[in-house]
Every structure is written in structure tokens, then in C-alpha cells.
């Protein structure tokens, strides 16, 4: 017999001298957001188990020797958390510099804003700093893998693997700085187990994975989010009733995502819902 979840108790946590009440089992990040604090995150996925890969969300917990990743550390009753302490800010600055010097963060939402906020200067390691620069992999008509933008957060691997899709088309290959996200034997997607659900693209925080429509429009210089509308509706294929958010520019669908808090999809779609809009 599988036990059902009992109702959760509420606990009080102190965030920067402000007390907030969150359900037991919530993370420090949940508590920070409940307190209205804007803690940066990259590898954190609201639909995924925390991976603790990027360390950009670190905060200072009173009495702890090391900084804690807010996205995975559970809040505890009476915990005192500093989100903007000198140590936390300095750590975020270095993380942003290391990532920014080696990875192309040009399409990462808010990266430039955070660099300014924390005084990060990714260029300070000089022009010879190692990078992951490489050509984008364009091997099918639906989505593109541009690993020069990849920060190795593993979210795509988790979404493709046991947490959602259970297709296991991608994993991590190599070790250390040379580690990359890869299909088996680095085969093209079309020779891999990929089923083109695009659930990896949905969770990618940097734009390393992008829909072919977006990739092409960016290359042409026609991608303009300020002219796009987002409308959530229901998929027109099977009867499961998946919620689709249609990103429309000039009366054309340019991208399809799904709300992460939706009870039907939890942010996931299949190939038809994600890409099967060509007929309208």
C-alpha cells in the first residue's frame, strides 16, 4: 500500500529579519519568495528535484559553516536566513563570472541584470579564458542544441529522464570541464531515442535548447518578444486536455510552452502539442 501524503504543518522562518510562514518541507527559496526576496536561480526548476549545480542562489544560514543553496535546502522552524549578506553576494558574483566567462549567456533571461546587480565582470579572466564554445547542433526541424550556451545544470537530462519524460535520450558525457550533455555516442537526435516532446527545451534556463522557429528568427533578427502575446489554451489533439501557452508574433505561433503549475501537464507536452500547430 502506498501511503497518501498527510496534511503539512506550517513553520516560521526568518528571512532577512522578516518572519514568514511556509509549509513544512518547503525550501529556503520558497520562503524567500514568500517574503518577496528576489534570489537569482539558474539550475532550479519549479517542476524538478533540485540539482545544486549552479550555486547562484546561495544564502547564509545563521550557525552554518557554509553557504546553503536556497533551492534545495529545506526551511526549518526558527531558521534565520540572510539573502543579501556580503558572503552570499560575493559568492553569487564569482559564480556569475565563472559561468559568464566560459558560457554564452546572451540569451539567458536576466543574466545581464544580475551581472550588474552583483558587480560581476566575466571578462576579468582575460581573453584566453577557457570556453565551451562550439557550433550549434541543427539536426532536425523541431529544435536546436547550442551547447556553447550550456551551463550543465542537468535540467534537460532530468526532464528527459526519470523525473518526467522517461525517454532517456540524453545524459552527461565526459568529465570535468569537458563534460557535455549528449545523446548516446553523440549521435544526431534523429538517431537517438528522442521523441521530440520538447520538455527539455521547456526547462532550459539559458536558451542552449531552443525551438527551431526561435533559433531561425533570432538568426534572421526577427525574434522580438516585445511584439509577442502569450495565450494559454487547450491542445487540439487527444482528450487528455493539456494546457498550451501559445507565443504569437504577427498572428503566427512562434513557440509553444505549458504552464508549470497546471494539474494536467505540470509543464510537459508531447510532440503533437508542442509542434503540431503548423496547420493553423
Amino acid at each position: 500500500m502506498i501511503p497518501l501524503q498527510p496534511p503539512r504543518r506550517l513553520i516560521d522562518v526568518q528571512i532577512d529579519d522578516e518572519t514568514v510562514r511556509v509549509p513544512e518541507g518547503a525550501t529556503i527559496l520558497d520562503a524567500c519568495r514568500a517574503a518577496g526576496k528576489d534570489v537569482p536561480t539558474l539550475c532550479h526548476g519549479d517542476t524538478l528535484t533540485p540539482k545544486n549545480a549552479c550555486r547562484v542562489c546561495v544564502v547564509e544560514v545563521e550557525g552554518a559553516r557554509t553557504l546553503a543553496p536556497a533551492c534545495s535546502r529545506k526551511a526549518e522552524a526558527g531558521m534565520k536566513v540572510g539573502t543579501e549578506t556580503e558572503r552570499a553576494r560575493h559568492s553569487r558574483k564569482v559564480v556569475l563570472e565563472l559561468l559568464g566567462s566560459s558560457v554564452d549567456l546572451s540569451t539567458t533571461p536576466r543574466a545581464a541584470e544580475w551581472n550588474e546587480e552583483y558587480g560581476a565582470d566575466p571578462a576579468r579572466f582575460g581573453p584566453d579564458a577557457a570556453t565551451v564554445e562550439q557550433p550549434a547542433k541543427v539536426d532536425n526541424d523541431l529544435y536546436v542544441r547550442d551547447y556553447s550556451k550550456c551551463i550543465l545544470c542537468y535540467k534537460c537530462v532530468d526532464a528527459c529522464g526519470e523525473q518526467w519524460q522517461n525517454t532517456f535520450a540524453i545524459g552527461v558525457a565526459g568529465r570535468g570541464f569537458d563534460a557535455t550533455i549528449s545523446t548516446e555516442f553523440d549521435a544526431p537526435l534523429t538517431d537517438s531515442a528522442c521523441v521530440y516532446c520538447g520538455n527539455c527545451v521547456e526547462v532550459c534556463p539559458t536558451g542552449a535548447l531552443s525551438f527551431k522557429t526561435e533559433f531561425d528568427m533570432r538568426a534572421e533578427g526577427t525574434w522580438d518578444e516585445s511584439r509577442q502575446s502569450e495565450t494559454t489554451t487547450i491542445c487540439s489533439y487527444c482528450g487528455v486536455g493539456c494546457n498550451l501557452t501559445l507565443h504569437v508574433q504577427d498572428n503566427k505561433i512562434v513557440k509553444v510552452t505549458s504552464p508549470h503549475d497546471n494539474p494536467v501537464t505540470k509543464g510537459n507536452l508531447c510532440v503533437k502539442g508542442r509542434f503540431g500547430y503548423g496547420y493553423v
Binding site: L142, Q165, Y237, C238, K252, G278, V280
Partner: protein
């Protein structure tokens, strides 16, 4: 091939379709309906309403049929897939919806996927199943093919096509003989157990093994796991319903839930997975010949009176024709005019050649669609519609009875118009001055007439990301599962007991013999959909066109290789398709899709043997032979 959207109305002149103004097309459409009804009475009219369109469109469509024309001849493609589920569930529980929610599949102990290739056909539902499996649930797959679903199962029961009833009976007998049936539940909440027990008695594990091909030990394992589970979900799809005795198949599964008490509790229930975005909603809205909006019985005089006073028109006190009967009516000259909204029966119906012949006999055919389908090409008037899911406002209802908002994101192309606008314009020309100021006004009218939708205002649907019916009150939400009443102690609150069904095994109509020795079954692939009109519009790297899938043993016996064109012949038709070798098939079983009818018309092979209760055809079981092509000369 991909289709272009319809952007102008079309009318037939001198045998060919030409572009026309809306004014002319609507006048022609209305005039044809008026002429036929005047000549033959209202029952010569039939509407096929669109399971792809909104609840609001379906509500107005059935109202058009019942009020403007005055007949109950309205149905939808529900008939070709899940009508038996609705018929079976409503006969037992009084309500035709699946009893559980997706979340419950994650919180259950045993999941039985019976005749359901959900991994490919309902991928996001299957993600809930996978969550359940990851949480510790055991999953059993019952399917002639070792599908993607079966690959995730604890146990795959590969039964012979069309032997679902013997298998279900053997499971039931084993449960009873092991003393694992829920006597308290059976006593309190069901009727007919003694007769049921008697009817399953001959189906010993050995007898069932002989008929179904499933090893006795596997049947026993399923029986014990299902009966011993604290909570269990039984899910099915078209493997159960696309048979000539489909309603019996559904009842056979419901029997198992009644036997074990796996219904009416959180985590225990029965889930038919619907194949089209709004096929649940179409039926809920009354776009079926035997129900008024809110799935209310059309034979109940008090209910009819409510609708008559709200609509200001009499409603026929009898069932209309269902899709199957409509097609028969066309052949017999009783149905002479037809209004098809978003349906492509020429390619989706079994024995497609016969269907086209029947539509050709109509005096007046109006097709409202977003594409010029094979069916639309036969029409006298073609009305270009908007695509409901992204060019209209409204709601859809999904397989867990969740009503969710559909929103307009795009302007329809050219002169294509909203379905409801078109229906109102036609009604106006036929003497009913209808005007709806948007979909919400239609929805509010429906809410005033349907108790199970009453609490679902658009605002609430948005706030709660959809609401499952029943929802009678704006201030409360009902449990996510149905029929909790069956567990009440008070007999009054428990209501009508759920009847067991006494069923007989009836093998597929299309018999195998020396001439047609192979069993053809049909289904869907992950990246394609139905007749392919929609899904042909994107470049799926997975797509490989129509093939005939054979197991390696059969391919070797026939001397054919992968990729080689072969001829597939049934008693009704013959097609040519390339061979695809699939080790997931068992010897004697052949699989094809129906996604590419313009290349390979698979439904010219299938048999139009229909379920007498629900009218669904036996798409899942045709007898065929596969032959090597011989080079001419």
C-alpha cells in the same frame, strides 16, 4: 502531404465547387435544409457535431438541430471511439464520465492499462502513470501488442484480439474463487452478483488461457494484484471500444471494479481515455441523439419541459439517429440532408468506400471545416470555420471531466468564421433570430440548464485552472472522483445500486480462415493523429508514413523484407504498403495506422460490424492476407 486552410466559402455549381460570398453560401446552405425538411419532415436532417470544437459550439449545434430543425438526429465522432464507454458507464452508474482524476493514478497501488497504448497515444496521461509507477504502483498492460505502455509494465498480458471478455471473466472467477471479492461492497452497492458469478464460472484459468493466449499464471497474478490492492485504477482506450461488442467489453471491465470495490473512492476508479480534445464535452453538451445538455435523459418529460420552456420550442420525445444509423438512413433514403461540422467520415469511418457512397446519395450536404477534406470535397456548400482551440473562445472537457478554458490567440485566415457565428447566421435564415454576444453567453445559458455545470463560471474556470464536473455550486468543489455515494451507509444516500452485467464471449465478426489468415488491428502513432489532416502540418523526424507492421516470424514465412511493398487484402478492400518489422507483434497479428489515408486507405480494409448498443465499428479486428507483389511480365 499537408493541407491548406479554407479561407473562402465554396458552393457547388455545375458539379464543381467554386468560391462564393458568405451571403450566398449561407443562403444556399439554409435553403437546402429548408427544402428537405419541407419535403420529408425534420427527421431527414442529420448533424454531425464536432468533437474537436468547443463545448459552446456543440451546445449551439445540438440546439440548432433540436430547435431550428426539430429533430434529435445529432451525433459526433464519439461514435467511432468511446460511445461504448459512455453507454457502459452510464448504464451502471447513471453517468458516462470516467470516475477518476489523473492525480489519483499517481496515488494508487495498482494500475491496469487495458487495450491502451497510452505511452504513445496519450503521452501526458502516461506521465501521471509513470509518476504512479515511480511512487511504487504496479502496472499491468493488457494488449495484443507489446506496446510502449507494455514496456513499462510489471506484467504484459498479450491477449488475442477480441478476447477481452474471456480474460476479464477469468480474472473475476479467480478473484471469487480465491475469496478476494469485496463482499460488503457487493452486498450494499451492487445487484446481480449471483448471476454474474454463474456466468464467469466456466472461465477457469485454463479455459481462458486457451481462448486468450495469456498464460494462466499471468491471469492469476493480475487477478490477485487487482483484488488485493488497497487502491486500483482500471484504464482503457480504443482496444476495448473499437469492437462489435464494445459495450459488453466495457461492462466486463466495470464488473471487475464492482467485484473488488475499486470505484467511488480516492485512488480507485475507472478511466476511459478519450481520443479527441473535446469528445467528452460534445456528449456532455447534448450533441448526441439520446441526451440533452448536461447529459440529461431526453426521455424524461420533466427535463424536456425545462428545455422546451427555455428554448421556446418542442423537443421530440424520442432518441434521434446515431452516426451509424444516420449512415444507414442515407442508404435507405430516409436521411436526405446532412450538416457536418469538422468531421471527415469519408476517411475516418470503417469500410470507407461504403461511407462515401452513402454521402453521395444525399440531396444536400453542408460541410463546415477548416480544411477541404475528402468529405468536404463532396459537399454542396463548404463553410470555412475557425480552428476552435486557438482562434475561438470557449471551453473543452477532458478525459478526467475537467472543463478548461480555450482562448483565442490567432485571427482566423481569410474569411474563415467562428462556428457559433455560422450556426447563428443559419438559424436566422431559418426563422430563429439567435444572437450570442460571445462564447461566455452561450456557456451561461448552458449553466442555467445543466446542474452539473452550474458552478463553473468562466472566472472560476480561470482561477482554478479548470473544474471537474459535477460542479453544481459556485461556492464549493466536489471530490475529484465520482460515485462516492456507493460507499454511503444510508441506503437513501447510496442511491441506485450498480448492476453487474452477465456477458457472453463473442469473437471478432471478421473470421480468420485460410484465405484471410492474419488479424489486422489498427491504432495511433506518437507523432500523428487520426486521418492526418492536422498532424501532417509539421515536420516530425519520427514520421515514416504508412507501413504494415509484421512480426519477424510472419515476415520470414511470407518471404518479405523490411521496406518491401506488399499487398494487404481484406474481404472489403485491398491496399499496398511497405513492410515494417516489429518484434513487439505476435505471430498472426498485423498492425497499421490510419494516419495517411491519402496514401494508403487502411479503412477500406476495416469492417463495419458495429456494436448494437453504442454503434462503434470493429476497427480493431479485421481478417486480412498479406501477399508479396509479383512483378508484371
Amino acid at each position: 502531404m499537408s493541407y491548406d486552410r479554407l479561407t473562402r466559402p465554396l458552393v457547388r455549381e455545375n458539379g464543381v465547387l467554386r468560391e462564393a460570398t458568405w451571403e450566398e453560401a449561407l443562403d444556399r446552405a439554409a435553403e437546402g435544409f429548408r427544402r428537405n425538411v419541407a419535403e420529408h419532415g425534420p427527421d431527414c436532417f442529420a448533424m454531425l457535431s464536432c468533437a474537436r470544437s468547443t463545448n459552446e459550439m456543440n451546445y449551439v449545434g445540438q440546439k440548432f438541430t433540436r430547435v431550428v430543425i426539430g429533430t434529435n438526429n445529432v451525433d459526433s465522432c464519439n461514435r467511432t471511439c468511446h460511445a461504448p464507454s459512455v453507454a457502459g458507464l452510464s448504464a451502471v452508474f447513471g453517468s458516462g464520465g470516467g470516475t477518476s482524476s489523473y492525480q489519483e493514478v499517481e496515488d494508487t497501488d495498482v494500475i491496469v492499462m487495458w487495450g491502451s497504448a497510452a505511452r504513445n497515444a496519450h503521452p501526458i496521461f502516461f506521465q501521471h502513470v509513470l509518476k504512479g509507477i515511480r511512487n511504487g504502483a504496479r502496472m499491468f498492460a493488457v494488449d495484443p501488442r507489446r506496446t510502449g505502455t507494455a514496456q513499462w509494465a510489471d506484467l504484459w498480458l498479450g491477449l488475442n484480439v477480441g478476447t477481452d471478455i474471456p480474460l476479464a471473466h477469468a480474472v473475476a472467477r479467480e478473484i471469487i474463487h480465491a475469496g478476494l471479492h469485496n463482499e460488503a461492497f457487493i452486498e450494499r452497492a451492487t445487484v446481480g452478483f449471483a448471476e454474474f458469478k454463474e456466468c464467469v464460472e466456466p472461465w477457469t484459468l485454463t479455459a481462458a488461457e486457451q481462448v486468450t493466449g495469456v498464460p494462466a499464471a499471468a491471469i492469476r497474478e493480475l487477478a490477485h494484484a487487482y483484488a488485493r490492492a488497497d487502491r486500483a485504477q482500471l484504464c482503457w482506450t480504443l482496444g476495448i471500444t473499437e469492437h462489435h461488442n464494445a459495450t459488453d467489453n466495457v461492462r466486463a471491465l466495470i464488473n471487475l471494479a464492482l467485484l473488488t470495490g475499486h470505484v467511488g473512492r480516492y485512488g480507485s476508479g475507472l478511466s476511459p481515455l478519450r481520443g479527441q480534445n473535446n469528445v467528452q464535452g460534445g456528449g456532455d453538451m447534448g450533441a448526441i441523439p439520446n441526451r440533452l445538455p448536461g447529459f440529461q435523459d431526453i426521455l424524461d418529460p420533466d427535463l424536456r419541459a425545462r428545455f422546451e420552456s427555455a428554448w421556446g420550442a418542442p423537443i421530440q420525445p424520442r432518441h434521434g439517429l446515431n452516426l451509424t444509423q444516420m449512415l444507414e438512413g442515407m442508404a435507405e433514403g430516409e436521411v436526405t440532408t446532412c450538416y457536418l461540422i469538422g468531421e471527415n467520415p469519408v476517411q475516418s469511418e470503417a469500410d470507407s468506400l461504403a461511407c462515401a457512397k452513402r454521402l453521395a446519395m444525399l440531396d444536400h450536404l453542408v460541410v463546415q471545416d477548416i480544411f477541404l477534406t475528402k468529405t468536404a470535397q463532396m459537399a454542396d456548400v463548404v463553410l470555412p470555420a475557425s480552428a476552435a482551440w486557438c482562434e475561438a473562445e470557449g471551453t473543452f472537457t477532458n478525459s478526467e471531466r475537467r472543463v478548461q478554458r480555450v482562448r483565442k490567440a490567432l485571427e482566423p485566415p481569410g474569411e474563415a468564421r467562428d462556428d457559433i457565428w455560422i450556426l447563428c447566421e443559419l438559424a436566422r435564415r431559418l426563422g430563429h433570430d439567435w444572437a450570442y454576444d460571445g462564447a461566455e453567453e452561450v456557456w451561461d445559458e448552458l449553466r442555467s440548464l445543466s446542474p452539473q455545470h452550474r458552478g463553473m463560471s468562466y472566472q472560476r474556470l480561470t482561477e482554478l485552472q479548470g473544474i471537474q464536473w459535477p460542479c453544481p455550486s459556485e461556492d464549493a468543489l466536489e471530490p475529484p472522483y465520482l460515485h462516492g455515494r456507493l460507499w454511503e451507509h444510508d441506503p437513501d444516500r447510496r442511491g441506485a445500486p450498480a448492476p453487474f452485467a452477465v456477458l457472453e464471449h463473442s469473437p471478432p465478426v471478421d473470421l480468420l480462415d485460410e484465405e484471410y489468415p492474419l488479424r489486422l488491428t489498427t491504432g495511433r502513432r506518437l507523432d500523428s493523429y487520426n486521418t492526418g489532416v492536422q498532424s501532417s502540418g509539421f515536420a516530425s523526424p519520427l514520421r515514416r508514413g504508412e507501413t504494415v507492421e509484421l512480426c519477424p516470424e510472419d515476415a520470414e514465412r511470407l518471404g518479405v523484407a523490411a521496406g518491401e511493398d506488399v499487398r494487404i487484402t481484406s474481404r472489403r478492400g485491398s491496399v499496398v504498403a511497405p513492410v515494417f518489422i516489429d518484434p513487439a507483434l505476435r505471430p498472426g497479428l498485423v498492425f497499421m495506422t490510419f494516419h495517411f489515408p491519402d496514401d494508403v486507405d487502411v479503412n477500406s480494409l476495416t469492417i463495419e460490424a458495429t456494436c448494437p448498443i453504442a454503434g462503434t465499428a470493429e476497427f480493431k479486428a479485421a481478417a486480412v492476407r498479406v501477399e508479396k507483389l509479383v512483378k508484371a511480365g
